[in-house]
């Protein structure tokens, strides 16, 4: 982390904190989306941001990425204050992250290899041939070997998503963000993506932050989470989703994790 950011360390005292969110209030003008968010993402976590549709999950993600400025509160990456950092330091921090956007967000004027090669060309001293090799490797990792010269419009939505993941992994990031990774994927592809996320965390040692409302994914991969409640406009629970399912005193959280409480089957058991 750059030492140029002079700010107090996040006051949570939690060792191993990778991202610390303190008193975050998100608002568009006078409309408050969420207030008083406080949570910590630890190194190696698969952290789930969950909640009902339209509660501000993606908005929270955009705050974590600095695409929207908080109305109040601060976000720390390790000990660096991201919210108050100047643009150069922010870029430095963001360079250690990779993001998979909802629709993949591949640059449509470039081939898949060029999409993955662009950050490599910008931020490394690799030769074009080496960049091409690494791009091929990343594509192979997500099961798209041989698709180097395809344009994003020539492949299916699920493949675009996987190519987006390959691009997010281009610089071997320390943190990977996923915005609704299973949206628009069939159950099997979605399951494969979950497995891929787990393997990335285990083998690359990355921290993973996932925005989702897919219960199957939440229980299959998440080991930490925050629940955003639409009614009270704040977080009502945090922690391991499997623990929340068993012990959460909050009826909203319980209803969410059990599909409204009508599901007799325990979803935690139904998946992995």
């Amino acid at each position: 982390m750059p030492t140029s950011v002079k700010s107090p360390a996040p006051p949570t005292g939690i060792a191993n904190a990778h991202i610390t969110v303190r008193n975050l209030t998100m608002a568009f003008g006078s409309y408050v989306v969420m207030r008083n968010l406080n949570f910590v993402v630890r190194h190696g976590d698969i952290f789930i941001i969950m909640g009902g549709s339209g509660c501000g999950k993606s908005t929270l993600l955009r705050h974590l990425l600095g695409l929207i400025e908080p109305a109040q509160g601060e976000i720390f990456y390790e000990n660096a204050n991201f919210t108050q950092a100047d643009p150069a330091v922010r870029t430095e921090i963001l360079r250690k992250t990779g993001v998979l956007y909802q629709g993949g967000a591949l640059w449509s004027s470039m081939t898949l290899a060029e999409n993955i090669g662009l950050p490599l060309g910008e931020f490394t001293d690799l030769s074009p041939a080496e960049i091409r090799d690494i791009a091929s490797l990343k594509l192979a990792l997500v099961g798209l070997k041989g698709f180097e010269d395809y344009y994003p419009s020539q492949i299916s939505g699920g493949m675009q998503k996987r190519a987006g993941l390959a691009r997010a992994m281009a610089l071997d990031p320390e943190i990977l963000f996923f915005d609704e990774p299973s949206a628009g994927l069939d159950p099997i592809s979605s399951r494969l993506l979950d497995d891929l996320i787990l393997e990335l965390r285990d083998n690359l040692g990355a921290t993973v932050v996932v925005v989702t409302h897919e219960l199957a994914s939440i229980f299959a991969i998440g080991n930490n989470s925050v629940f955003l409640d639409t009614q009270t406009r704040t977080m009502t629970a945090s922690g391991d989703p499997k623990e929340l399912l068993k012990h959460s005193p909050n009826p909203e959280v319980h209803a969410f994790l059990t599909r409204g409480g009508n599901n007799a089957e325990n979803p935690a058991r139904s998946h992995g």
């Binding site: 992250t97 956007y101 909802q102 967000a105 662009l118």
Partner: protein, 384 residues
């Protein structure tokens, strides 16, 4: 129910009866299809206010044929009227399906304050708001222009980055690919100028001065102006649509979080491409306009091409050609900046992309005309 019976049933009908003094029976009969139009719940109001005032409403649907959402819309209207008049509706007489759908529709209370308010603004207010938003737009434009300038500074320090291949594609797109339309329109503008001048000049036997008029008008103003307006409609709109779509699909977010400045990566090559190409197009437009004027002179007024050419070379000075080129570069900056700015400001829907393209053209042309006025004023002071 039997199909033939239904076919003979009349379209939806409504009648009222009293079971006893306190109970109003609403009799619903016939086929209730929304495509045939339906009785309104307002008729019920008269019955409710009639003496003696009913306390309850019951439904009789024994003669009801087929029904669809039209019936439900009517029933929700009825239950709204009942609520306002503190009358309790007894839903037991309704078909099962209709009753359940009605309960579903009323399960969640209406969100208050969510309906669109029709704002009434006076003429003066809207004029004021429009004026303020024009100035706001102008200051946004200047801010964006400033950011582009800073990015250019980085470019000269060798720090700014974009892909050379993108620049080449853009140069081809706003240079070579625009030749056809510039050829056609500039030639036509030249002929129009010549026609209009010819009528006047012929009256006192000064037809040869058509060459002077067309030459000076094209090089001084019309060449740059025509090129700029064509490019605003062609390239400015394309820039806004490209960047707007990239905004919608989060491609711009992806650049930002990757640590790549969209200003350098997307805007710089567009501004450079347009500013390199537009003076060439302008020069070409000058030439085509003069050619158009010469064509009219030769065919309609019998001025020999050689004579026309000599007169043109005599009239057109290097200063006015260069003045036109300088103007065209300024117009190019305006078009590129307006296009990119509107693209970046694009909202998150497909109609927003269309708005962005429209806005880019409108902003571009308005500022081009303003700049043209400023140039006329400046050139006048400088005596050019």
């Amino acid at each position: 129910m039997d199909g033939t019976v239904q076919a003979t049933l009349p379209p939806g009908e409504l009648s009222f009866a009293r079971k006893d003094a306190a109970t109003l029976v609403v009799r619903i009969s016939g086929n209730w299809h929304m495509r045939h139009g339906l009785p309104s719940a307002a008729a019920l109001l008269n019955e409710l206010t009639a003496q003696p005032r009913p306390q309850k409403i019951a439904f009789d649907t024994s003669a009801l044929g087929q029904w669809d959402s039209g019936l439900l819309a009517f029933l929700t209207g009825v239950s709204e009227v009942c609520r306002q008049n503190q009358v309790s509706p007894d839903l037991a007489g309704l078909p099962d399906g209709a009753r359940k759908l009605l309960e579903l529709a009323e399960a969640v209370p209406e969100k208050t304050g969510a309906r669109a308010e029709v704002a009434q603004t006076s003429f003066v207010t809207s004029v004021g708001a429009a004026t303020l938003s024009f100035w706001e737009g102008f200051s946004e434009f200047l801010t964006f222009f400033g950011e582009v300038t800073i990015a250019f500074g980085k470019l000269f320090e060798g720090k700014a980055r974009f892909r050379r291949v993108d620049l080449m594609v853009l140069i081809q797109d706003c240079g070579a690919n625009a030749f056809g339309i510039i050829t056609l329109l500039s030639f036509l503008v030249g002929t129009i100028l010549a026609f209009m001048g010819a009528v006047q000049l012929q009256q006192f036997g000064a037809a040869i001065y058509i060459a002077d008029m067309v030459g000076i008008a094209m090089t001084h103003d019309m060449g740059a102006m025509m090129t700029a307006i064509i490019m605003a409609g062609r390239t400015g709109a394309a820039f806004a649509a490209q960047l707007g779509t990239m905004k919608v699909t989060q491609e711009i977010d992806a650049l930002v979080t990757m640590g790549i400045s969209p200003m350098e990566f997307l805007v710089l090559p567009r501004v450079i491409a347009l500013c390199l190409m537009i003076p060439l197009l302008c020069l070409y437009s000058d030439f085509m306009g003069i050619l158009g004027g010469g064509f009219v002179s030769a065919t309609m007024m019998g001025i020999a091409p050689g004579v026309y050419m000599r007169e043109t070379m005599h009239a057109v000075t290097m200063t006015s050609v260069i003045g036109g080129l300088v103007k065209s570069i300024v117009y190019g900056v305006i078009i590129a900046v307006a296009g990119c700015l509107r693209g970046f400001q694009c909202g998150n829907s497909s109609s927003a992309v269309g708005d962005a393209a429209t806005q880019a053209v409108v902003t571009g042309i308005v500022y081009i005309v303003v700049a043209c006025g400023i140039f006329a004023f400046l050139f006048n002071i400088l005596g050019i």
